[in-house]
């Protein structure tokens, strides 16, 4: 286990963390501010990736596809809000889970009908199609570095919006005590719409950014959604700061765990047993982390909600 390998894994962990953050940011706001469980949030990530496939194909430019995909992801999110989610805010969590799960099934099937079931790919844009040589013989794609930078920029912008603007103040207030915000004459419905569209757009952005790295296929958001929920539980529902810290934490623990656990076990037992047990333990690590956080801080690391 060399230091270079660990360095590379840290970069990889950051990259996973950044994508998780973009998905979890929207999810934590929707959950924290509106108390709404949106299982279909992962689908919006998938839609972003498919928008990238479609728009990149149609325009031939990644930048154009990127710039067009964001408003379209926003519109798709708002359409879903208008058609489905709006009618669920007053319902209990079970109805929300059932209905948004239905949206997952419907949209996964829809993209399969439109784009086919096979995995699609998006080419890395020309201007980022080069690599750093991290160690002799191993190239680290520039696009992945750009992805990390883009994610951090979005995080900074979000931090600014949430802490320094009026909308951000309302969102924070809404996450802490929605009844009071409503009582003070703020149009909560409108606030919800803003939060929702914003969250959908961030998930779409994650999809667009991830498309050139991962394969684009129906259901690609479903697994990430579960991890995104782990992130918001660790970070504390409604807290963007919590989502950021937790996303990076989960990204790093997951990536480093996959390397270190098996290697660590090899020191203690024979290789084939380590190969059997290592991946199983590594895939549990983030849930163990979640359990520990829940044990010590049941409300999450940076809970926004006041205890009531």
């Amino acid at each position: 286990m060399s230091t270079t390998l660990i360095l590379i894994q840290v970069l990889n962990g950051l990259q996973l963390g950044v994508i998780l953050f973009l998905i979890a940011a929207g999810l934590t706001l929707v959950f924290g501010v509106m108390g709404f469980i949106n299982l279909a949030h992962g689908v919006q990530y998938m839609l972003g990736a498919y928008l990238a496939v479609w728009l990149y194909g149609a325009t031939g430019s990644f930048i154009a596809a990127f710039l067009l995909a964001l408003p379209l992801a926003l519109v798709l999110g708002l359409v879903l809000e208008f058609l489905v989610f709006r009618h669920l805010y007053a319902r209990d969590h079970l109805s929300q889970v059932l209905a948004t799960f239905g949206v997952i099934l419907f949209l996964n099937q829809l993209v399969e009908v439109i784009f086919g079931p096979a995995a699609l790919t998006v080419e890395v844009p020309q201007f980022l199609d080069w690599s750093f040589e991290l160690v002799p013989g191993l190239l680290y794609p520039a696009y992945r570095v750009a992805l990390i930078v883009a994610g951090l920029l979005v995080a900074a912008a979000l931090w600014y919006v949430i802490t320094r603007t009026r909308v951000g103040m309302l969102i924070r207030a809404g996450a802490t005590n929605p009844e009071m915000v409503s009582a003070l004459g703020v149009n909560v419905r409108q606030l919800f719409l803003v939060v929702f569209g914003f969250g959908a757009m961030l998930a779409g952005l994650a999809g667009v950014l991830a498309a050139p790295v991962f394969s684009v296929e129906p259901g690609m958001g479903d697994d990430l959604l579960i991890v995104a929920f782990v992130v918001i539980i660790i970070g504390g529902a409604g807290s963007i700061r919590g989502a950021f810290v937790a996303a990076l934490l989960v990204g790093l623990v997951d990536t480093l765990g996959r390397t270190l656990v098996t290697d660590g076990l090899r020191l203690a037992m024979d290789a084939s047993a380590a190969n059997q047990i290592g991946p199983a333990i590594a895939s549990m690590l983030i849930y163990v982390l979640m359990a520990l956080v829940l044990f010590w801080r049941p409300e999450g690391l940076f809970a926004a909600k006041v205890t009531r």
Partner: protein, 385 residues
């Protein structure tokens, strides 16, 4: 509806069945979700053979009923039961995935209906649990990996890094690779079945002194791994060998990222015999994409049924005669030599394949050297029937 009307309806249905085709074939393959492309290849391959035979099998009018198992064992079981109970098919052709085969195997073989697998060839039914009603036109699942290991050994590769998803088939394939390969193992990594980002594994490979990688990463897993492997600049210095990773279903998405990558198989679209060339041309003309092994094996399954039905003169009631006719494998396989082992799994030649771009721009696997001549699987001797 009155009782009389019901009876009339029932007799009408019975009449309809009596008037239907002489040979009924039910197909259970995966046609939804990401692996749907594999099932589609099998359906199209079988259909093409049926079209060429003018809608007959063994000279008798034939009917094909296609069912989607949705990659869910319970769905596969329901569909299989409906095929044997209400449709009363003479043959079931399926499945693509081994776990689907496990689900439908018992009800079909116990109903004494012949089950012919166009792809799944698990070890479970190759050894002691071999069955007189079960035939395979593909391979025993581990064989491609065994061939790849033998190739690596012959090619003088001495330090290979192994990677596969963390489930039974993943372990079986890595085990298969080790059967004939005797060099060093630079590392062995198991990833989740839905693994997205391979950069952690790629970093390990790059820092491991391996001269080659052996991967079993089917479907979307392979699309991601191959592209990320190539993006990391490893293609030039580490030989990429794989099974079920770079085939005609994944190459449309991998394209030049997989150029020069090596695979193992029993056939490639450029297999040099007249029947195969004609099949590929007709398939591309009809369906607009390049057929892979899945299509070829289903086509062969159709031709196998055709030969057996013809041999018994259309009399499907004598199961022993029909079985003997199937065992004879008296048909022209697209891959050339083909016969059945004692366990009804194929004895066939295996080749090393190389990913290359065809003149018309399509990315395909291309025939390389012959690795095994008339290769049978290692479980056949445990089978007694």
């Amino acid at each position: 509806m009155t009782k009389k009307a019901l009876l009339t309806a029932a007799s009408l249905v019975a009449l309809g069945q009596a008037a239907a085709a002489e040979v009924k074939v039910g197909m259970v393959v995966t046609l939804s979700g990401p692996p749907a492309a594999l099932g589609q290849q099998a359906v199209d391959g079988f259909q093409l053979a049926l079209d060429e035979l003018g809608g007959t099998l063994g000279g008798e009018p034939a009917e094909l009923i296609v069912e989607d198992d949705e990659l869910k064992p319970d769905v596969a079981l329901t569909k299989a039961n409906s095929l044997i109970e209400s449709e009363e098919v003479d043959f079931v052709v399926g499945t693509i995935f081994s776990n689907m085969l496990q689900a439908i195997f018992r009800p079909i073989t116990e109903s004494e209906t012949f089950l012919i697998s166009p792809n799944a060839g698990p070890s479970t039914f190759a050894g002691r649990n071999c069955n007189p009603y079960f035939f395979v036109t593909s391979y025993q699942n581990n064989q491609n990996a065994e061939v790849m290991g033998a190739y690596a050994q012959n090619a003088g590769l001495s330090n290979v890094f192994l990677i596969a998803p963390n489930y039974q088939a993943g372990r079986d394939n890595l085990e298969g690779f080790r059967m004939h390969y005797e060099g060093e193992i630079a590392g062995e990594v198991y990833v989740p079945l839905d693994h997205q980002d391979f950069s952690a594994e790629i970093a390990r490979i790059a820092t491991s002194d391996a001269d080659a990688v052996f991967a079993f990463t089917p479907g979307g897993l392979g699309v991601r791994f191959v592209r990320q492997f190539d993006d990391a600049g490893l293609s030039d210095r580490i030989q990429f060998m794989s099974v079920f990773t770079t085939d005609e279903t994944t190459l449309p998405a991998q394209q030049d990222a997989a150029e020069g990558f090596i695979a193992a198989g029993n056939w490639a679209p450029d297999t040099d015999n007249e029947a195969s060339q004609a099949f590929v041309a007709a398939f591309e003309e009809e369906f607009g994409y390049v057929p892979g092994g899945y299509a070829m094996q289903a086509y062969d399954a159709a031709k196998l049924i055709d030969s057996a039905v013809a041999a018994v003169g259309g009399d499907l009631s004598d199961k022993d005669a029909l079985r003997a006719a199937l065992e004879a494998a008296d048909f022209q396989s697209l891959r050339g030599d083909f016969s059945f082992s004692a366990n009804h799994y194929p004895v066939q030649d295996f080749y090393q394949l190389t990913v290359a771009q065809r003149d018309d721009g399509a990315w395909v696997t291309s025939m390389g050297e012959l690795v095994f001549d008339d290769y049978a699987d290692s479980f056949a001797e445990e089978c007694s029937m």
